[in-house]
């Protein structure tokens, strides 16, 4: 780190929303060529801080200094022209336009004259230049809608570079990336760092912060708890700083007694090239982890078992009261005791216009309907039970679900399946959920298994799979390529199977 004035210095920043203090006395300094992680639970003030740094929000108190000179960021444009850009979790790009057009958007090079014809050559050249800095090989002519999420992320970063960004804020850039994509992103980020660009990196994933960040600032309740070199912070110390208490080494409640009765039987389930014949068997009380890189078919397999995606062949059977029941569609699945907690709770799981109670009751409990009428009393009772069983933090059954934190929203989706469910399929059950809510959800899942429910948990986070599963099935290119028992499963072994290589770093 250079001792010269930092690139951006934040002094005693404060921000209130009504009576609520979002940020109090926040100070930090970001130096040139540094990767500075900002960690904290949901609601700790990360988003507010980033909104202020990117010019989207005005602070109530405090000052900013850019290379030692005081600055005021009136709006996003002002921040951009100063050299601060933000790349959001979901890159804001126009899918129908090309990579080059997206990178140049808003500042397309044009020829002189009143018509302002776009200078396509110059546009392509500057886009390629920005992409070359990142060391990525995305064709500049390709439509953004046709490239993968990881590449879009890089296009968004290239766009920031093209705007002359010297400080780029990355808001959970890896939340939808697979392991190898994350590695590729990190390579690009290191290239940026080497050029002297400063990066502010926000993520929930401690291992990633450790891999990429030079320093870390932890926020809690809108205040800076600590800023320290990453190397000096252990994971335990980080978690303690974020949550304000000593935490969770009790994740593993010990291996549960695997029941003997098989509950779910999947045979030769296939769907074109996306799902090669997959066979699985699951017993009562068992937790099967589903590992694999992004696009390996984890979500596809869960959705196809549940009947939400069509299949080409194979069968799914659930055992209900001594008899095997075939599952063909979602209605069959639910009727025979299957449940699905989908990957993206906002897009697939929740009705955001509705209340907590309505969302829990969306999968209608059997005794809540009679002659097409719904019993408000039963629905209420069921929702109240879910709230207390899962300790959902909400003002009550009638609280609007969109006011809940990510972890509590996830519990609402989970709460739907507490009744009449024998086999629960979970897709990324803790994505975008903060550290303590995650630990809590893990405990609830283990408790469900202990009560005799069989679980299939798909996750891109290997530690999560290791903490939860009795067995781990690893997928690659739509097929299950290996199954590991709890004793065999190590991060390196999972990665080896997932990538299909003999040499994999963990």
């Amino acid at each position: 780190m250079t001792p010269a004035p930092p690139l951006l210095e934040v002094r005693s920043l404060g921000k209130r929303f009504g009576a609520q203090a979002a940020l109090t006395d926040v100070s930090l300094a970001i130096t040139k060529g540094e990767i500075h992680a900002v960690a904290g639970e949901n609601g700790a003030g990360k988003s507010t801080l980033m909104a202020i740094l990117s010019g989207a929000l005005a602070a109530d108190e405090g000052t900013l200094a850019w290379e030692g000179r005081p600055v005021v960021l009136q709006d996003v444009k002002a921040a951009q022209s100063l050299g601060i850009s933000i790349v959001h979790q979901e890159p804001q790009l126009v899918p129908s336009l090309s990579v080059a057009e997206n990178i140049g958007l808003g500042r397309l090079p044009h020829r002189a004259g009143p018509v302002r014809l776009v200078d396509r050559g110059a546009m392509q050249a500057s886009a390629r230049e920005a992409l070359a800095i990142l060391g990525v090989s995305v064709p500049a002519e390709a439509a953004v809608g046709a490239i993968g999420i990881a590449q879009r992320q890089l296009v968004a970063i290239a766009r920031a570079l093209r705007f002359g960004a010297r400080l780029i804020i990355l808001d959970e850039p890896t939340s939808s990336l697979s392991l190898d994509e994350v590695e590729a992103l990190f390579t690009s980020l290191r290239a940026l760092k080497a050029r002297g660009t400063a990066l502010v990196y926000i993520s929930h994933r401690l291992d990633e912060l450790r891999a990429i960040a030079d320093r870390v600032t932890v926020l809690r309740d809108g205040r800076v708890v600590t800023t320290a070199p990453m190397a000096e912070m252990t994971n335990e110390a980080l978690i303690a700083a974020m949550s304000g208490r000593e935490l969770v080494s009790d994740l593993q409640t010990g291996p549960p007694p695997p029941g003997t009765e098989p509950l779910l039987r999947v045979r030769g389930l296939s769907q074109g090239r996306r799902l090669r014949p997959v066979s699985l068997e699951l017993r009562a009380g068992e937790v099967l982890g589903l590992a694999g890189l992004m696009g390996s078919g984890r979500s596809r397999l869960l959705r196809t078992i549940f009947g939400a995606d069509a299949r080409d062949g194979g069968s799914v059977e659930v055992r209900a009261a001594e008899a095997w029941r075939e599952v063909h569609d979602v209605a069959d699945a639910i009727e025979s005791g299957l449940g699905l907690v989908p990957e993206d709770r906002r897009a697939l799981g929740l009705v955001l216009t509705a209340t907590v109670g309505d969302n829990v009751g969306l999968r209608t409990p059997r005794n809540a309907r009679r002659w097409g009428f719904l019993s408000g009393r039963v629905l209420r009772a069921v929702a109240e039970k879910a709230i207390s069983a899962l300790r959902i933090k909400a003002s009550g059954v009638d609280a609007p679900v969109r006011t809940l934190s990510g972890g509590n929203q996830q519990k609402v989706v989970l709460g739907r399946w507490l009744r009449d469910t024998r086999v629960l399929l979970l897709d990324e059950p803790t994505r975008g959920v903060d550290v303590s809510a995650k630990a809590e959800i893990h405990r609830h899942l283990r408790a469900l298994a202990a009560s005799g429910i069989a679980l299939v948990v798909a996750s891109s986070e290997i530690p999560e799979l290791l903490a939860l599963s009795d067995r781990i099935a690893v997928m690659r290119d739509g097929a299950v390529v290996g199954e590991l028992t709890r004793d065999q499963a190590t991060p390196a072994e999972i990665l080896r199977l997932a990538t299909g290589t003999e040499t994999a770093a963990s």
Partner: protein, 317 residues
Amino acid sequence: MTSDPATPWWQRLAPLLGLFILFVVLSLSSPYFLTRDNLLNVLRQSTINAILALGQLVVIITAGIDLSIGSVVGLTIVVLTLLMRHGTPPLAAALITLGVGALIGLGNGLLLTRLRLPHPFISTLGTLNVARGAALLLAGGVPISGLPPGFRDVVAGSALGIPMPVVIAALAYAVTHVFLGRTVYGRDLYAIGGNREAARLCGIPVDRRLNLAYALSGGAAGLAAIVLAARMNSGFPLAGTGAELDAIAAVIIGGASFFGGVGTVGGTLIGALIIGFLRNGLNLLDVSAFWQMIVIGVVIVVAVWIDVLRQRVGRSA
């Protein structure tokens, strides 16, 4: 799930407050406004729009739209009056009319759920043209008259001093209120409008429910045609032209969200009444019909703007 739960009460009451202010202003500006005759007259004149708005509400809750209802009124009014002129008993003719309306609506639903047309705006725009053309063909382009006198006497008459159309509309509102708020079907429609994919993954038969919503909207158009035929004592093939726009306006003024998942029967009633009282008041004040259009246009925009403000408040809360 009957209204947006995040909305503070004072905003949820915004449409009602608007109606109240309108009421006070009109009472003060015209001595004739607050008379029994005039008020009943407004109610009577609002029934057609109120009934159509009810069907439109059901569809808008699912994040859809039904542009065809005005034309469906035209087609079903021709069917109804032709049947009666050829000797079908009025009750049977009325039931067939409801059925025809519902069938056309079901057609709209199937275009959406079977042919997978990208948006109901397109399918119902098609039906708008088809139904109007069919109405004109069936009627030979001229109004159909010579209806049995009993039909008019009953449907356009009154019961206990209340105009029969108002009674019919009130019944329709009561039934729809229970349907949307208390039945599985109603709850499913809100869920589909709020998040179609989440609804599907919870085992809700999305396509069947959407078909039902559009069938109900068509059925509401049939009901409106029955009331309209009695009031005009004839079947005019151009009846209901443009009526879909007033119905959409009533639903939106009543606080329903165009993005689906939010909307109430009570709000829609208030929306229809605001439009009715506005028209009536402007007439009483001798404001020209041209200015009335401008005023109603402004009210629609302001009502939706209030909705936008409301959502902004909700999001930052």
